[in-house]
Symmetry: C2
């Protein structure tokens, strides 16, 4: 008898019929003799609808109030799912994040989980009940409701699996698993059977949309093996685990793109020590996540700094940049909404020096201009024009032979 | 500087525009130098939509899960109202019932308030903030979410006003105040400037729809003076207070009807002591409220018992009645959904013996058949056919001269 944590995303519980299907699936696992704890997102478009309501009332609502508002979405789906399971003759009980002691910091709309009191969940599991917990949310030490930000339900699921020492953590999603590229963009994209935490981390943070990166960090930290699988059929998906270095592993595992970021460039900043710190201090205080950062030497004694942020943070950022511009005596700040970040990911990439060259060559052959470059141990990212992103992904997918079910080794 | 509790119902916050209007109204009171605590219901049809979702999934959802589901409605409107007030430059903060320690018993979907920890509200009021609290809900001692049942927001508002020792409790509604009869049914219905707790209690429980009866009981118990007024204009409404007997008070204050009840009749029950107790024991255990009860002598050695319940409880009741029928060896149980209860209300009615006769005479003249009769100190209720209820109300309103702004004294 295993303790299994199952997480269902917004699409999986998008309407009444789907909620019933999910309930049947849960009941099957339960009747197989397992204990089941379910983490659930808000139904389909609920979150967007709530944001829409808020924006009609206040263009810049307080984040604490946004959390009050948004957290209702998961509570609705959790209660409905409990009712659906109950109607199949299996006892179920739903809890919201605060009720089961999911303690977070106070960074409203992007809170971090600090601790989970698993007792209340386990008490119900021991009574033979299926326990449904709202994803995406918790409470801070002053009992304010917090949310973990978009995709936070994955993090909730992994954190709960870790706290309960669950045997498995299954993430149900609207795709079959983790792919070498987005199948909607690349025809020959293939499902991966297994991927390491680190590789998935890069894929997740680079916009592969399957799982939120913070949830993978959590899983890596607490050694929670994840099974990403389809909520529409019983097929096996992709296992994400701490992987021994497999000799046969291809160097490049996947290609991914992200068009949800915007590029910000500060031009004509005096070139002196501490200037970068000054630029990013206020941004960090506002809890805005920066992705790529690049600093180039500009005209005499000045420098240009570029970075990317989530488009959703751009409004807030513009206010901050006005005062940053003043304080660092910069000449000008420009914004570019129409960028796409394209990345290739794979463990061992660093030891294959030809990979970067090959990537740039492929893009050059397609006449795709590279605006920014950033590299890590296991990924290389470039920023290109937004409308070239899909073409770049396809070209790279083919060039690195990801469509072929064979062992790839970089040759140069 | 006064501390004012304002309660806005579902219609008052029915859409984005109305929420903005309510916010402006609150800001005006705040800027006049008052402290304001707001209790808010779910937006317009939200509650019905949530019930609809639940019914699609489970015909008899667990009441605990219904409370999880339903309580989200007020949390949405509370957060949105806080945002709207904030956008007008006044700081506002929203809380749900559990957060501000509204402690109830564990009777899910119709819980009773046991205690309110006012500290968290007052702490925020002292910071100069408008505090928005979700009506209709609280938590039990095990931290399960509970709801107070339909109209429970009124009770929340009065209970919070009592706990905070507020100077005023204003109930905003879609009517101008308390009327001598439902203005939609009776053309000549007049607004009352003042009414006593006891009279309002009868009107509320009889279906006058302005305020929930439990909230009036609370107000009477804790001496909270209520001002029922329109949410659409600034006109004065009706004051509900503990009233000294006014000599000029008319005997009949109002006429009201309620078509939300159903009649249940148990036929052929053995006529022996304890039989009524046996009938109502199981119903009371199921927490179903009984309204009128009548017992008639039937055929030899048997008796017939009739009573009325809320139509919404009828499904659950039918199950219970099956076993009640067995245990009391009754012949048959019948149900009638199509009844209307028509009542006249007024302090001092008992001392004017002609009132009942006049009421029955008026109905007889209209050929309206009376199925059940029930009387109290300050009201007389009759059950008639549902489709005769409006006609009965109009006839009684005219007969007791409630459309005339004069002193009425029963003459007989």
């Amino acid at each position: 008898m295993a303790l299994i944590v199952k997480k269902f995303g917004g699409t999986s519980v998008g309407d009444v019929e789907r909620i019933k299907n999910v309930a049947e699936r849960i009941v099957r696992t339960k009747k197989d003799g397992n204990d089941v704890v379910v983490v659930v997102s808000a139904m389909g478009k609920t979150t967007d609808q709530l944001i829409g309501l808020a924006k009609q009332i206040n263009q810049r609502p307080k984040e604490r109030e946004m959390d009050m508002l948004m957290s209702t979405g998961e509570q609705i789906s959790a209660a409905l799912l409990a009712m659906a399971i109950d109607s199949l003759g299996v006892e179920a009980i739903s809890f919201n994040g605060p009720q089961v002691g999911i303690l977070t910091d106070s960074s409203h709309t992007k809170a971090k989980i600090l601790d989970i009191e698993g007792d209340r969940i386990l008490e119900q599991v021991r009574k033979g009940r299926v326990v449904i917990v709202t994803g995406f949310q918790g409470r801070d030490e002053k009992d304010n409701i917090t949310t973990l930000g978009r995709g936070g339900s994955d993090t909730s699921a992994v954190a709960i699996a870790a706290a309960l020492k669950a045997d498995q953590c299954e993430i149900y999603t609207d795709v079959d698993g983790v792919f070498t590229a987005d199948p909607r963009v690349v025809k020959g994209a293939r499902k991966l059977d297994k991927i390491s935490f680190d590789e998935m981390l890069e894929l997740a943070s680079l916009g592969a949309k399957v799982m939120q990166s913070r949830s993978i960090e959590f899983a890596k930290k607490f050694g929670v093996t994840i099974h990403v699988r389809s909520s529409f059929h019983d097929g096996v998906g992709t296992i994400i685990a701490e992987e021994a270095n497999e000799m046969e592993a291809p160097v490049v595992r996947g290609v991914t793109s992200n068009i949800d970021e915007a590029k910000v460039t500060i031009l004509g900043v005096p070139d002196r020590p501490g200037i970068a710190a000054e630029v990013f201090k206020k941004i960090s205080e506002a809890n805005i996540n920066i992705d790529m950062i690049i600093q180039n030497v500009g005209e005499k004694d000045t420098t240009d700094i570029s970075f990317t942020v989530d488009k959703s943070d751009l409004d807030r950022l513009k206010d901050i940049m006005d005062s940053v511009k003043e304080s660092v005596s910069a000449k000008r700040v420009t914004y570019d909404n129409e960028i796409g970040k394209v990345s290739i990911v794979g463990v061992g990439m660093k030891s294959h020096s030809g990979i970067a060259y090959k990537m740039f060559r492929v893009l050059a052959d397609k006449k795709i201009n590279i605006q920014m470059i950033s590299t890590s141990e296991i990924k290389i990212s470039v920023v290109v024009e937004e409308n070239k992103a899909d073409e770049a992904v396809n070209a790279l997918h083919t060039a690195f032979e990801l469509d072929k079910d064979v062992i790839y080794e970089a040759k140069l």
